[in-house]
């Protein structure tokens, strides 16, 4: 059975596209045939994070409108044969998406793929509604920061009332918390919400904590999903998250401050 995962948050800039790219790559590397779709029509970005921007010929809207077949529009990843990217249209506006059109494309993808990862745009308008409508699972990407937590809660309300599962009275969407840009040292100093605080407020199942790191910028600069950077704590965090999602037991990491040597403790870094 194919699972449709929506990567959502409400607020912008919390790491949805970074997460979509890495989760999709992680699932594909585990041997699952995976498609990742950019729902941000008009503000296409996933192709850049995946490093395939120069290979985009047709897009999601072309497929919906019958101007191209799904196979023509899907871009096969060069690093992992199980991974395909469906880019958003850069020239249309978000109203080019319709529930019917999106549903058709997803139904066709379901025939071939194990996982479909939907990269939601920010906000709670058309694009975001389309991205979450057909979802089975939702990864709610949240930063330990006031506006992000509030927007995540708002998005949870939308997931539980406006999704297909909610409207048909089916089993609700499974919701998971991904706490990103986490800084254990700032939590320790008392100026950042802790994992426990956020979990208490949102009461969500924690899939993983992604530490704040400069590696993310380097990865997006070079068009490589951060999960492929095995040395990076962020890459490791995403690897753990994928494993946990697939049912493996993994102890949570990156919640406590890294232990430094005497030199580091004295002079910081």
């Amino acid at each position: 059975m194919t699972r449709i995962i929506v990567i959502t948050s409400g607020k912008g800039g919390v790491g949805k596209t970074t997460t979509s790219a890495s989760i999709a790559m992680g699932l594909a590397k585990k041997g699952h045939k995976t498609a990742v779709i950019d729902f941000d029509v008009g503000l296409r970005n996933l192709d850049l994070i995946m490093g395939c921007e120069r290979r985009v010929v047709y897009d999601f809207v072309n497929v919906i409108n019958g101007e191209a077949t799904l196979n023509q529009a899907l871009i096969k990843d060069k690093r992992c044969e199980n991974l395909y990217i469906l880019p958003a249209s850069q020239t249309r506006d978000k109203d080019a998406l319709s529930f019917e059109g999106v549903g058709k494309v997803l139904a066709e993808l379901k025939k071939d793929f194990d996982y479909i990862v939907c990269d939601s745009p920010a906000g709670i308008e058309t694009g975001a509604n389309m991205a979450m409508y057909y979802a089975d699972d939702a990864f709610v990407v949240t930063n330990p920061e006031i506006s992000s937590v509030r927007d995540s809660d708002r998005m949870l309300g939308i997931l539980s009332s406006k999704s297909l599962r909610a409207q048909k009275g089916k089993e609700p969407i499974k919701e998971y918390l991904l706490l990103s840009r986490y800084s254990p040292s700032r939590v320790k100093l008392g100026d950042m919400l802790s994992v426990d605080d956020v979990q208490e407020i949102l009461s969500l199942h924690l899939l993983g904590v992604i530490p704040e790191s400069l590696d993310v910028l380097n990865a997006s600069n070079s068009g490589v999903p951060i999960i492929l950077d095995e040395k990076s704590s962020v890459g490791q965090a995403y690897t753990d998250i994928v494993a946990r999602y697939l049912g493996e037991e993994k102890v949570h990491r990156f919640i406590e401050e890294e232990r430094k040597g005497l030199f580091g403790r004295l002079f910081g870094g």
């Binding site: 309300g157 009332s161 100026d191 605080d197």
Partner: protein
Amino acid sequence: MSLLDYFKKRSNTANTVKNRLEIIIAHDRAVSRGQPSYLPALQQELLEVIQKYIAVGQDAISVNLEQNDNQEILELNIALPDETKKQEPKIPVKLKKSRRNKKR
């Protein structure tokens, strides 16, 4: 954390933000999810009653139901017009009109 940090003043804004979030999210949820279905009707009827006596606009009243641990608070806010507006002759006329409309 470096040695210098030990001498910095601890702000502990994390507690502040947690408290603010708990309040605002409880409020958001009451409005978007848990709002009882009678609230809009209650608001409309209250508005009609008030309009019988005072010239207020359609948006002059707000009704909120807040839930705390073990109590519910029904908050009613009515914005009264200022003195100058009250004396304008047009408003009572409007009021009559709207009253007639409601009777139909």
